[in-house]
Amino acid sequence: MAIYAYLVAGYLILAGSYGIVRSRHLVHAIVCLSVAQAGTYVLLLAVGYQRGGASAPVFGSTTKPNKDVVDPVVQAMTLTDIVVSATVTALLLALAIQINRRHGTVDPDELAALKG
């Protein structure tokens, strides 16, 4: 259990990459990329977690400021990451639409320009 959360994060990154490698459709590849990105969210939050009833880093009238909270720094990074990744995904999808329009295919294997 001590490293299970980290392993799930690593698994998501690798699973997403595997999906990109075997992809036959650019949209499929883009979606797999966002799965791999989700692995980074899990990793960041796992690093900041504190067990034993630590609360969220938001104080109010009921929770007076104390230091027994989960790490807010990684949460801040993750939340901006999520919003920015959505716009980057949108950029990639727009590229895929244009590729489909110009080349009539979105299979990476059929796109000569992507051949290695």
Partner: protein, 91 residues
């Protein structure tokens, strides 16, 4: 609490696998949305309400919607393309 975290993590891993293994991009829009929901649950369990809110909007709604619209646009473009080719062949 720890058990809850473990369950949430396992569900996220399974949902992620499902997204990667769905070969049809249309179906992926749905599995991606489910994957986003499991992430929201995980983030709440990990005491990150801010992150969960962010993922709720992006992961379950915006990105799957854009994926769905892109696929429909591509299918429409392809149909028009084929139709166009057919006309040329007929001439």
């Amino acid at each position: 609490m720890t058990a809850l975290v473990a369950v949430a993590l396992t569900v996220v891993a399974l949902a992620g696998t499902a997204v990667v293994l769905s070969d049809e991009p249309q179906r992926q829009a749905v599995t991606l949305s489910i994957f986003g929901t499991t992430l929201v649950v995980l983030f709440v369990v990990l005491q990150a309400p801010d992150v969960a809110l962010s993922e709720l909007g992006v992961g379950t709604a915006v990105v799957p919607l854009m994926v769905m619209l892109s696929i429909r646009t591509m299918r429409k473009d392809r149909a028009q393309h084929d139709e166009h080719d057919g006309e040329q062949d007929g001439q």
